[in-house]
C-alpha cells in the first residue's frame, strides 16, 4: 500500500468527477498544443531568419516599386573589404503561378552569382550549385510546390507571372530545398528573366529588393544606416530592415494569425486553471473529514499537503494527456498543405506537430495542477483535526 | 381542521440491496383512527421508519393495501402520490432538513408554493403556523441563527402550514436535549388535542412515547404489542 495507490484510489473515488474534469481539461489542452506548436514554429522561423544575418533593402514608398540593378554596385562600394557585407543579391518579384492553380508561391528572380551565398540556408549541395550556375533556366524550389505538384529534380515546369508584363516562362528544377522554413519558395535566375523581357521590349534591369548577407548583427545595423543615408532624397530612396522586421510586416497583415494563436494559448491556460481549481476545491471539501483522520492517525501535516497537491498534479496531467495525445495525432496528419492550398495562406503550413509544444503543454498543465492544488493542499496542511472530524461535509 | 384515518392491510415491504432481498415489513396489519396520536417504537432495523414512509406515500409497499383517508396509496402512481402528499401529509424529521439559505418564514412557505395562492394568503398562513408553534417573533431568522429546538419548531410549522390530515414525525426529538424535547412533544400534543390531527410518531425514547395515546411496538417487521394509554390532560400553551 503506497502513497501512489492511495492517490489512485482517491481519483477513483468519484470517477465521474475525475472524468468530467479530465475531459474539461483535455479540450483546451488540445487547442493549446496546436496553438503553441504554431507559436513555436513562428519563433523557429524568426530565429532561423536571425541566424542568417540578412538585410533587406527595398524602395521606401512601397515594396512594389522598382530599384535599378545598378544600385547593387553602389552598395557594394560601401564595404570594399567585405568585412561587413558578404554578398548582395538583387531580387525581382515574378509572382508566378502554375496555370489554374490557386497556390500563391513566393516566386522571385534573383542574381545568380550571389544567390547561393546569400541564401545559404537552402543547403544546396555543390552539384546543385554547379547546376544552378550552368543551367540558364535553373530553379530552386521549396517542399510545398514540390509535393503539391509532384515535381522532381530535373522536371521542366512553367509558371505564369501575375505582374506586368505577364510573362510565361519555363524552368528546370535543379534543387528541392529540404529547409522547412523556406517551403513555398521558387527562385530562378534574373538574367533569364531579363533576357525574356528584352525580347518583348519590356523594361529590364530592375529589382524589388536587395538581399544582403552580412557578417554580424552590428554589420547589419551599420549597413542599414549607411544604405538608407546614401539613397535618401533620391528617386530610389530606400528602407532597409533586417529579415525578421521585413517578414513581420507580412505576417501581421495576414490576419495576424500568430497573435491569434498566442491569445488562444493564454485564454486556454486561464480557463484550464479555473477548471482545475474548481475540481480540486470540490474534491477537498468532500474529504475534509478523511484528511483529518489521516492526521489523527499520525501522518505529518506536510505529507497530507503533498497528497493533495500530487492528486491535483495527477488529475491535471491526466486531463492534459487526454487532450494532448489526440491533438498530436491530429497535428501529425494535419493537412497543413491542403489548407494552405485551399485558403491560399501558406503560413498555415507551419501548423504541425512539434515536440517542444507537447512538452510545453504538459509543463503548463503540470503548473496549473500545482497552482490549483495549492490552496486546498494548504487548507489541508492547516486543518485542525478535531474540528474537521466533527465537520459535516 | 382536517383529519384522516389510516388503514394498512397485509402490507409487505422488501428492499433490494445489490443481489440480496431484505424483507422489512411482513404481513403488517394496522388501523389508526382519525385524530389518534400513535407512537411507533422498536429496535433499529425493525422497520418503523419504513412504515412511516409507507403511510406518508413516500414509498410504495411490495404487497398489501395502504389507505389514508380517501386515498388508496398502493394504487397510486408516483406523480399522484407526490401531489397527494403535498396536500395531506406533514413530515417532521430528526434532522429538521430546513433550507439554510432561506429564513424561517420562507422555509414554512415552501409547501405553499405548490398551490395556487396569492402572496398575501401565503403570508397569512405562514404567520398562523408560526404563531401556533410559538415562533411569531423569529420569522426573519435563518436556520443558523436558531437553536435546535427553534429549528424543529420551524419544521413543525412547515409541516402544518398546508393543513394536512396526517402528521408523521420520525424521531423529532432525537437531536434535542430533554427540556427542549419535552416542549416539542407538548406542541405535538397540542396539534392533536386542539386541532385534531392524526399523528404518528416514531421514536425509541420511552419518555417521548409517554405522550402518545397508543404505543405500537414493532420488531422484525411485524407488530408485537399494541398498548392503549389514558389520554393525557390537555397540554398547556407552549411559549
Amino acid at each position: 500500500m503506497t502513497l501512489t495507490y492511495v492517490l489512485m484510489q482517491n481519483l477513483k473515488r468519484n470517477p465521474l468527477r475525475t472524468a468530467l474534469t479530465a475531459i474539461a481539461f483535455a479540450f483546451p489542452m488540445a487547442v493549446f498544443v496546436a496553438a503553441i506548436a504554431f507559436v513555436v514554429a513562428m519563433v523557429r522561423l524568426s530565429q532561423a531568419n536571425a541566424q542568417e544575418l540578412r538585410l533587406v533593402v527595398r524602395h521606401k514608398a512601397t515594396l512594389t516599386n522598382y530599384l535599378p540593378e545598378g544600385n547593387r554596385r553602389k552598395i557594394e562600394a560601401l564595404d570594399p573589404d567585405r568585412t561587413r557585407l558578404k554578398a548582395i543579391c538583387g531580387m525581382r518579384w515574378f509572382g508566378g503561378r502554375v496555370p489554374d492553380s490557386k497556390i500563391a508561391l513566393t516566386n522571385l528572380a534573383v542574381d545568380p552569382d550571389t544567390f547561393p551565398i546569400v541564401y545559404s540556408d537552402l543547403a544546396m549541395t555543390e552539384d546543385e550549385t554547379a547546376l544552378w550556375h550552368r543551367e540558364r533556366r535553373a530553379a530552386v524550389i521549396g517542399s510545398l510546390p514540390a509535393s503539391a505538384y509532384g515535381w522532381k529534380v530535373g522536371d521542366r515546369v512553367t509558371l505564369n507571372s501575375t505582374v506586368p508584363p505577364y510573362l510565361s516562362l519555363e524552368f528546370q528544377i535543379v534543387c528541392i530545398s529540404p529547409n522547412p522554413v523556406r517551403a513555398n519558395f521558387f527562385f530562378f535566375r534574373r538574367d533569364y528573366l531579363d533576357e525574356s523581357l528584352v525580347q518583348i521590349n519590356a523594361p529590364s534591369g530592375r529589382v524589388n529588393t536587395f538581399w544582403i548577407k552580412c557578417t554580424s548583427v552590428e554589420a547589419i545595423r551599420s549597413l542599414q544606416q549607411q544604405i538608407d543615408a546614401m539613397f535618401a532624397n533620391s528617386p530610389d530612396e530606400t528602407k532597409s530592415e533586417d529579415e525578421n522586421a521585413f517578414v513581420a510586416g507580412f505576417i501581421q497583415a495576414t490576419g495576424d494569425i500568430p497573435a491569434l494563436m498566442q491569445a488562444m494559448a493564454i485564454v486556454v491556460v486561464f480557463i484550464v486553471a479555473l477548471i482545475a481549481g474548481n475540481a480540486m476545491m470540490m474534491s477537498f471539501r468532500e474529504r475534509v473529514r478523511e484528511l483529518a483522520v489521516f492526521k489523527a492517525i499520525g501522518f505529518p501535516s506536510l505529507r497530507v499537503f503533498f497528497i493533495v497537491i500530487t492528486e491535483s498534479l495527477m488529475l491535471a496531467l491526466f486531463g492534459a494527456m487526454l487532450g494532448v495525445v489526440p491533438a498530436s495525432v491530429l497535428l501529425l496528419i494535419f493537412p497543413g498543405q491542403e489548407l494552405a492550398k485551399l485558403f491560399g495562406v501558406p503560413i498555415i503550413n507551419q501548423l504541425r506537430l512539434s515536440w517542444p509544444a507537447v512538452v510545453g503543454a504538459l509543463a503548463i498543465a503540470a503548473f496549473v495542477g500545482l497552482v490549483a492544488g495549492f490552496w486546498p493542499a494548504w487548507q489541508a496542511l492547516r486543518l485542525k483535526t478535531v474540528d474537521a472530524i466533527r465537520h459535516v461535509a | 381542521m382536517s383529519s384522516a384515518d389510516i388503514e394498512l392491510h397485509d402490507v409487505c415491504k422488501v428492499y433490494r440491496k445489490g443481489r440480496i432481498d431484505i424483507p422489512v415489513l411482513d404481513g403488517l396489519e394496522l388501523s389508526i383512527a382519525a385524530g389518534e396520536f400513535v407512537v411507533l417504537m422498536g429496535p433499529s432495523g425493525s422497520g418503523k421508519s419504513t412504515l412511516l414512509h409507507l403511510i406518508g406515500g413516500l414509498d410504495s409497499p411490495t404487497a398489501g393495501s395502504v389507505r389514508v383517508g380517501d386515498a388508496q396509496l398502493d394504487q397510486m402512481s408516483e406523480r399522484q402520490l407526490t401531489a397527494w402528499r403535498s396536500r395531506h401529509v406533514g413530515f417532521i424529521f430528526q434532522m429538521y432538513h430546513l433550507v439554510p439559505v432561506l429564513t424561517a418564514a420562507q422555509n414554512v412557505e415552501l409547501p405553499l408554493l405548490l398551490f395556487r395562492m396569492s402572496a398575501s394568503e401565503r403570508k397569512e398562513r405562514v404567520a398562523t403556523a408560526l404563531s401556533i408553534v410559538g415562533l411569531a417573533d423569529r420569522t426573519d431568522h435563518r436556520p443558523n441563527q436558531l437553536s435546535g429546538g427553534q429549528e424543529q419548531r420551524v419544521a413543525i410549522a412547515r409541516a402544518i402550514v398546508t393543513d394536512p390530515d396526517v402528521i408523521l414525525a420520525d424521531e423529532p426529538t432525537g437531536d434535542l436535549d430533554a427540556h427542549t424535547s419535552e416542549e416539542i412533544l407538548k406542541l405535538l400534543n397540542l396539534l392533536n388535542s386542539e386541532f385534531g390531527k392524526t399523528i404518528v410518531l416514531v421514536t425509541h425514547d420511552p419518555r417521548a412515547a409517554a405522550h402518545g395515546q397508543r404505543i405500537l411496538h414493532l420488531d422484525k417487521g411485524a407488530l408485537h404489542r399494541d398498548e392503549k394509554r389514558a389520554p393525557r390532560p390537555a397540554a398547556a400553551a407552549v411559549s
Binding site: 474539461a24 515594396l63 497583415a253 495576414t254 490576419g255 479555473l274 461535509a393 | 413516500l58
Partner: protein, 394 residues
C-alpha cells in the same frame, strides 16, 4: 408555482468558490465568443457593402486582383460598346470608370508605427463617384490641378499621415508630395480603406500608361451575366465579375482565420459544458437531503429538474454578462482596430470591431445553451434521487 429565483441564487452562492470559478470559465468563453462574433461581423459587413450587383469590375484576363492587372487605354475604350451600361442623366455619357491601383506603405497607428501596412491608392476620374455611389465626400475632393488625395475614413483612422493637410509621399521615386484634401466614407466597405487621387496625376507620377482596372455600372434592369459574357468574348477579351463575386474571392485569409477561431470556440464550449456539469454534480451531491425534503413536501421530479436547470442557467448568464463586459473593456482599452491583408490584392482592409446588443444577446443565448446542456445530467440525477435513502443519510 415553483421555487423562487432568490432561492436558487442564494443556493449558488453557498458554494462561493465553485460558483465563482465556474462563472469565470463561462465568462472567458463568452468574452472570446463575443469578440469573434464581432470580428466576423465587422469583416462580413464591410465585404457586404461591396456587394453591389449592378457594379461590374473589369480586369485583364488571368489577373487575380486589381493590383496585378493592366488594361491598355484602347482596350478600355472597347468597353463603350457594351449595351447594358447606365448613362449619366445629364451628359448622356456611359458610367464607365477607368482606375489605376498603386500602393503606399503607411505606419499603423495602433502599434505606434512599429509596423507598416500596404494601403491601396486608387487613381480615379469624376466618373468614379457615379459608378461607386456609396462613396460620399466628407469635405473637399482632390483638385485636378494640384497633387491632392482624399483618404477613406477607415484608412485615416488606422494609418498615420492621413489627416487633412498632411502630405503623402507617392510617385515612382517617392518624391511627389500629395496633400490630403479631405476624407470620404464608403459605408464601411473595402473602399473606405483606400486613398483616392486624380487619375491623370497619378499616372504621370508613376510613369504608367495603362489603367489597372475599370468599373462600370449597369443601367436599370441591365443583365450582369450577359455583360460579363460580352466582356469575356472575342470582341473585348477582358475578364469581369460583379463586385460581390470579386470580393468573395479575396477573402481567403479571412475564411481561414474564422475557421481556426470557430474550432477554438467549439473546444472551449465543450470544456465549459463539462466544467458546468462538474460543478452542478457537486451541488446536487451536497444537497441530497434538501432535495429529499423538497420531494417529501410534494415538489415533483420535474420541478427538481427544472430547479437545477435554472441554477445552471443563472450561472451561465452571470458568466455571460461578465464575459461581455470583459470583451467590451478589452475593445475599449486595447483597441478595436484590425486590418487584414489580401494575398491577392496586396493591400489591406481596415475595419473596426464593435460590440452591438445583438452580438451580446447571441452570446448570452449560446452560453445559456451551454448551461442547459451541462446541467442536463446532474439535474436528471437530482430528479431521480431516491428520497427514502436520502432521508436516511447521516
Amino acid at each position: 408555482m415553483s421555487l423562487p429565483l432568490s432561492y436558487h441564487l442564494r443556493c449558488l452562492f453557498v458554494r462561493k468558490t465553485s460558483t465563482i470559478l465556474t462563472i469565470l470559465v463561462v465568462a472567458a468563453v463568452v468574452a472570446v465568443l463575443a469578440w469573434m462574433t464581432a470580428f466576423a461581423q465587422a469583416v462580413k459587413s464591410s465585404l457586404a457593402v461591396a456587394g453591389d450587383e449592378r457594379k461590374i469590375i473589369v480586369l485583364r484576363q488571368g489577373a487575380t486582383a486589381e493590383s496585378n492587372s493592366v488594361i491598355p487605354v484602347d482596350e478600355f475604350n472597347k468597353l463603350r460598346q457594351l449595351t447594358h451600361l447606365a448613362t449619366d442623366a445629364s451628359t448622356g455619357e456611359a458610367l464607365l470608370s477607368p482606375e489605376l491601383m498603386v500602393q503606399v506603405a503607411l505606419p499603423r497607428l495602433r502599434d505606434a508605427g512599429r509596423t507598416t501596412a500596404n494601403v491601396a491608392v486608387r487613381g480615379v476620374t469624376e466618373k468614379a463617384f457615379q459608378v461607386h455611389p456609396k462613396i460620399k465626400l466628407l469635405g473637399s475632393s482632390f483638385s485636378k490641378g494640384q497633387p491632392e488625395v482624399i483618404a477613406g475614413l477607415a484608412a485615416a483612422k488606422q494609418f498615420a499621415g492621413l489627416n487633412v493637410g498632411d502630405t503623402l509621399h507617392m510617385g515612382y521615386g517617392g518624391d511627389r508630395g500629395y496633400r490630403v484634401a479631405g476624407h470620404f466614407s464608403a459605408q464601411g466597405g473595402p473602399m473606405e480603406s483606400e486613398i483616392w487621387a486624380y487619375l491623370p496625376s497619378l499616372m504621370s507620377s508613376y510613369a504608367r500608361t495603362m489603367y489597372s482596372s475599370a468599373y462600370l455600372r449597369l443601367r436599370e434592369g441591365g443583365d450582369a451575366a450577359a455583360t460579363i459574357e460580352q466582356i469575356r468574348g472575342p470582341a473585348i477579351q477582358l475578364s469581369a465579375a460583379t463586385e460581390a463575386q470579386y470580393w468573395k474571392e479575396q477573402s481567403g485569409t479571412f475564411q481561414l482565420y474564422l475557421l481556426l477561431a470557430y474550432i477554438f470556440l467549439a473546444a472551449m464550449c465543450v470544456a465549459a459544458i463539462f466544467a458546468i456539469a462538474n460543478t452542478m454534480f457537486s451541488f446536487v451531491a451536497g444537497r441530497t437531503r434538501e432535495i429529499a425534503m423538497l420531494r417529501t413536501i410534494g415538489f415533483g421530479r420535474g420541478k427538481i429538474l427544472a430547479g437545477f436547470m435554472t441554477e445552471s442557467v443563472l450561472l451561465s448568464l452571470m458568466g455571460g454578462v461578465i464575459g461581455s463586459g470583459l470583451c467590451a473593456a478589452w475593445l475599449a482599452l486595447v483597441g478595436n482596430k484590425k486590418d487584414m491583408f489580401g494575398a491577392n490584392t496586396f493591400t489591406t482592409l481596415a475595419f473596426e470591431i464593435k460590440l452591438n446588443p445583438l452580438i451580446i444577446i447571441q452570446s448570452l443565448l449560446a452560453v445559456t445553451l451551454v448551461g442547459v446542456v451541462g446541467a442536463l445530467w446532474p439535474a436528471t440525477r437530482a430528479a431521480r434521487l431516491q428520497v427514502v435513502s436520502a432521508l436516511r443519510e447521516p
